[in-house]
């Protein structure tokens, strides 16, 4: 045992500069990977401590974020562990020839792979604690974590520090100890068996299931567990299919590249991709799953953004128009306050929201009416049409309730059935007297006016018999004052101060105030943060693997140059070999992730709120990053001819 451990550590240390570099790279990669995972875990823990997070979905959320970042990190570490893999596998096979049993050889390999990884992981842990005060104080995408303790759960720390070296060891040992009969074989240049066509199945199958889950869903219909299950299941199968299909895609593209008359560069790249399609896709897989999840997540987030609460809060935060209610004491007289507020710069309109109600009992209809002027109404719903001062009308839809439809007489009260309270009987508006607006709700129905005015009927305030009832209302209840505020000029906070200055007893409320805005904004920030991490780790891993492969093919490159192949051709070949899988993969990942996310949006009926802009930005950023990384590998790939390289060629 001691012999194996000793040998493993000696091998890990190496003696040539190239081997030392590899050890250093492993340490650094683990340091970075562990640090990153701990930061993400601490950030997630701080986020969910904020009050705006919904309790039920939390574990799933944490798991998703950790997995989405963790996967590319794991792939990066595995990639680093597989650097110079061919040589190291061969060396382990040599040990087998000498007479080391499979188990002992695996131990040597594990120690070799694990030694640097363990050192790096522990250093990462130290780095996290050392840098913690710095990270905590950072303002990351508008999130403020300084109030939290900013530390990950203890069990998660142990898990990360243990898991990362295990990933390295598993990756280093994964292909198994090669049978010794291949000891004398050079690295295989025969084409790998073509990727089986079964790989083409899961992706479309998953998408079909996702589509089926949304098919035939009636408006207003409850989304059952079956549909939800189908969506999630289909999504998982699609993700698997995404990873599975890349080698086939790569191979198809490779075949194309070889046949097309594009010059030698294309053909070389095509041949190389033909020989090793799976090698490329392993590395790209981590990146793609990350992008898939991010794209889908962004879509899902769109559902939240579709709620009126969110839209209103978004407006309020971003300088749009906001509706506020100010609750005034009965005795204070809402008209006066309204008049005073209306004259304030930034207040577009202020009016008391007078309301009359029916009794809402058995046998009686249940409707309410807004009493005011057309200008009040238009202030709240600017695109309302059909309002005429002096004429009562239905809001949005003609009423159909018995006792509250054209031809009936509606008994309007203060809301109390006390017979001593004043009431008034008015004829219901005719069937052609309707005020409408263009705003539609989730189900395609128009309720903008009803929602804004909290009523189904409009009654002009000069209708005879109405004022006494309103006076009675004012005497007993707090009449809300509707304010339309332009938050670019006057923020909600400033308004509150203003109102308090005028009437200390008045209360300002945002009827749409909801924690969900904070939540959604937080989620969006999280999504972009995760995207950045996923792209960074995935692409860095790709670059490392590509450059390592290039370095191990140095001999071949020099031979090609000696024979007369220009460096441009070699570079072109490398460009195609790197750019094609990356760009195809990125597009495919974002497209399929978006498709699954769209399925979700369709199920919850938020198809209006698809965040195409965000998705386009995500695609753009990913493509640019991918192209940049491909360019880096191109620069590294054609070495200058040096004497020692010729000797080996």
């Amino acid at each position: 045992m001691r012999g194996e451990v000793r040998l493993g550590m000696r091998l890990a240390r190496g003696s040539a500069p190239g081997e030392r570099f590899r050890a250093a790279a492993t340490v650094l990669a683990h340091l970075g990977g562990v640090w990153l995972m701990l930061v993400v875990l601490a950030a997630v823990r701080s986020e969910i401590a904020l009050p705006s997070y919904d309790g039920d979905a939390l574990p799933l959320l944490v798991l998703t974020v950790v997995a989405t970042v963790g996967l590319p990190v794991a792939v990066l570490l595995a990639t680093v562990a597989r650097l110079s893999a061919a040589l190291r596998d061969r060396r382990l096979a040599n040990l087998r020839v000498l007479g080391l049993s499979p188990a002992r050889t695996r131990l040597v390999g594990a120690v070799e792979a694990g030694a640097a990884a363990v050192v790096g992981s522990l250093l990462g842990l130290v780095a996290f604690w050392v840098l913690r005060p710095l990270v905590r104080g950072l303002d990351v995408v508008g999130r403020d974590w300084s109030s939290s303790s900013f530390s990950p759960w203890p069990w998660s720390v142990a898990l990360v520090v243990l898991a990362m070296p295990l990933v390295a060891v598993a990756a280093a040992l994964a292909p198994g100890i090669r049978p010794v009969s291949s000891l004398r074989d050079a690295a295989s240049t025969t084409p790998a068996p073509p990727p089986g066509l079964w790989r083409l199945l899961p992706l479309p199958a998953g998408l079909v299931v996702v589509g089926a889950s949304t098919f035939g869903l009636e408006r207003d219909q409850e989304v059952g567990d079956l549909r939800l299950g189908a969506l999630v299941g289909g999504g998982v199968v699609t993700a698997i299919g995404l990873v599975a299909i890349i080698p086939v895609f790569t191979r198809l593209v490779a075949e194309l590249m070889v046949r097309v008359k594009g010059g030698p560069g294309l053909r070389i790249a095509g041949r190389r991709l033909q020989t090793q399609p799976a090698g490329v896709s392993r590395i790209v897989a981590g990146l793609l799953i990350g992008l898939f999840v991010v794209a889908g997540g962004r879509m899902v987030l769109g559902a939240w953004e579709d709620t009126p609460q969110y839209r209103a809060a978004d407006d309020a935060a971003n300088g749009g128009q906001v509706t506020l209610d100010v609750y005034v004491d009965p005795s204070a007289g809402p008209e006066l306050l309204a008049a005073r507020l209306a004259s304030v710069d930034g207040v577009r309109a202020a009016y008391p929201q007078w309301q009359l109600m029916t009794l809402c009992g058995e046998g009686t209809p249940c409707v309410s009416a807004f009493v005011g002027t057309c200008s009040d109404l238009l202030a709240s719903v600017p695109d309302a049409t059909g309002c005429r001062d002096g004429r009562s009308a239905w809001l949005d839809h003609v009423g159909g309730e018995p006792g509250a439809r054209p031809g009936s007489t509606i008994h309007w009260t203060t809301g109390s059935d006390d017979p001593s309270q004043p009431a008034v009987d008015l004829p219901a508006p005719g069937s052609d007297e309707v005020i409408t607006s263009t705003g539609l709700d989730d189900y395609g129905d128009s309720y903008a006016l009803s929602n804004a005015m909290q009523a189904q009927v409009f009654i002009p305030d000069d209708t005879p018999g109405v004022q006494p009832v309103l006076a009675a209302v004012a005497a007993h209840t707090s009449v809300p004052l509707a304010l339309e505020v332009d938050t670019a000029t006057l923020s909600e906070a400033e308004l509150v101060t203003l109102v308090a200055g005028i009437d200390p007893t008045a209360q300002v409320q945002n009827p749409y105030e909801d924690d969900s805005y904070d939540f959604v904004a937080g989620m969006r920030a999280l999504m972009w943060g995760v995207t950045a991490l996923v792209l960074a780790t995935g692409l860095v891993g790709f670059a490392i693997a590509a450059i390592d492969r290039t370095v191990s093919r140095r001999g071949e490159m020099v031979s090609l140059q000696l024979v007369g192949t220009g460096r441009t051709v070699i570079r072109t070949a490398q460009w195609w070999e790197a750019a094609v899988p990356l760009t195809v993969g990125v597009l495919l990942a974002v497209a399929t992730g978006s498709a699954v996310g769209l399925g979700w949006l369709s199920l919850v009926g938020s198809m209006d709120a698809v965040p195409w802009g965000s998705i386009a930005a995500l695609t753009g950023v990913s493509l640019v990053a991918a192209v940049a990384v491909a360019a880096v590998t191109v620069i590294a790939c054609a070495p200058r001819i040096r004497p020692e390289l010729i000797r080996r060629a």
Binding site: G3, L7, N94, S101, S181
Partner: protein
């Protein structure tokens, strides 16, 4: 000596070995005996199964049919682990590329079998140094594998093959990658040192001049041994 009759003195023997890689047969009833202290050259065109036979004798490959004996003991029933241990203890290898471990120095490479056998670090280093002297690499122990010439690397391989005093040395084209002069020297070294320690040597080669150094030459064709002339 007739093929097929094994005596207790035999270092290693194979009787009626059959082995196929998938659908391709590599050994078709190969019989071979390496007597104690003998140097046997195994020749044949490429594809005849020479290396396969060597690896079967070493216990690295398992034949589909047939019996392999090492120092009189049949190896068919041994587990992978036992066969590895047997190989480590009783055999030394000189392969065409040398196959030294690049991360280790020359002396660490030579000491490797001893260390794997559990010999103390100090003793391993001493014996490795002595071995390096024998092969003429006395001062080169601290050099890295990449810093020595092909001939020097093969000499180190010879040293490594004999440092733990194995009974059997298996050499697969040991001079294949060397020029004639270097090759002669390495071969001489291997055979002299092995003979001095009483080890048996199986020398797989396609080079007649190399085979001419052996006590006996066996020829393989199509996965089996060509019957020796009885004169």
């Amino acid at each position: 000596m007739t093929v097929g009759a094994t005596s207790l003195d035999d270092a290693v023997s194979a009787v009626d070995l059959h082995l196929s890689f998938g659908a391709t047969p590599a050994l078709r009833g190969a019989d071979l005996t390496l007597a104690a202290g003998e140097v046997l050259a195994l020749m044949g065109p490429s594809g005849s199964g020479k290396s396969t036979l060597l690896y079967c004798l070493a216990g690295i490959l398992r034949p589909d049919r047939g019996e392999v004996r090492v120092l009189g003991r049949p190896t068919a029933d041994l587990t992978e682990r036992s066969r590895s241990e047997l190989r480590l203890r009783t055999m030394g290898f000189v392969l065409q590329g040398g196959e030294l471990v690049p991360e280790l120095t020359i002396s660490e490479n030579v000491a490797l079998p001893l260390q794997l056998l559990g010999t103390s670090h100090r003793e391993s280093v001493e014996r490795a140094a002595a071995m390096l002297e024998t092969v003429g690499l006395g001062g080169a122990g601290a050099r890295r594998t990449g810093a020595v010439s092909g001939g020097e690397a093969q000499r180190a391989a010879v040293a490594r093959a004999l440092v733990h005093e194995p009974e059997i040395v298996l050499a697969d084209e040991p001079t294949g990658a060397l020029d004639t002069v270097n090759g002669e020297q390495v071969l001489d070294l291997l055979l002299t040192t092995a003979r001095a320690r009483g080890a048996s040597v199986l020398l797989v080669t396609h080079d007649h001049r190399v085979a001419a150094h052996a006590d006996r030459v066996a020829v393989m064709r199509d996965g089996a041994l060509v019957p020796e002339r009885t004169t």
